[in-house]
């Protein structure tokens, strides 16, 4: 019973975290800020939602499958963000930086 409550809480928090990331993806002003919003919240949302589903699962086989999905998402999501950033940087998209006050 208490495990089901913890699982429900984790699922709700993970869903809200995903909504926050989507709002950041929609409203941030440039590509690198949007990449930050999406890349940070993707991992956290996947961890929270899949851990909550593991608490809510009925038998151990489903838990093992959810664990496999979670581990694959934990490896693939940062790799995709890294490849996306590297490709954009190689194509010439630098993050916008403010010039220092003293120098040029």
């Amino acid at each position: 019973m208490i495990i089901a409550m913890i699982g429900s809480l984790l699922v709700v928090v993970g869903s809200l975290c995903g909504v926050v990331g989507a709002i950041g993806l929609l409203r941030f002003p440039n590509f690198h800020a949007r990449l930050h919003a999406a890349g940070v919240t993707d991992s956290l949302c996947a961890i929270l939602v899949l851990t909550g589903l593991m608490c809510l699962a009925s038998n151990g086989f489903i838990v093992v499958k959810l664990l496999i999905v979670l581990f694959f998402l934990l490896f693939s999501t940062p790799t995709a963000s890294h490849v996306l950033t590297r490709t954009a940087l190689n194509a010439g998209y630098r993050p916008p930086m403010r010039k220092p006050e003293t120098g040029e």
């Binding site: 909504v19 999406a38 996947a46 010439g92 403010r98």
Partner: protein
């Protein structure tokens, strides 16, 4: 099970917002980022629907979808890295993409 319905609805809202960004996105990389987010959230949605419906076969579908999503994003980025700078001629390198605010 009310919680799982809420989670599924929230994930659908996330997918909708990411699709808006994928249609709006000024560069090709914004679109790839949004499509990657849609794929990840679809994996989570399949897992939630699996637990909600009590059908354990959907988790295999989620795992295969995660694999195909990752391979698809890598293949799309490899294509645009080889092909050039994407479709948006106004946003080629040399133009800044600082979103209107000049430094």
């Amino acid at each position: 099970m009310m919680v799982l319905s809420f989670a599924a609805a929230a994930i659908l809202v996330v997918i909708g917002l990411a699709l808006v960004r994928a249609f709006l996105g000024p560069t090709i990389y914004d679109r790839v980022l949004a499509v990657n987010m849609v794929g990840t959230k679809t994996v989570l949605l399949i897992c939630v629907i699996d637990i909600l419906g009590g059908n354990s076969g959907f988790l295999d579908v989620a795992l295969v979808y995660a694999l195909i999503n990752f391979i698809g994003v890598i293949a799309m980025l490899k294509f645009y890295a080889d092909e050039g700078r994407g479709e948006d001629a106004d946003l080629r390198p040399g133009h800044d993409m600082s979103g209107g605010e000049s430094p």
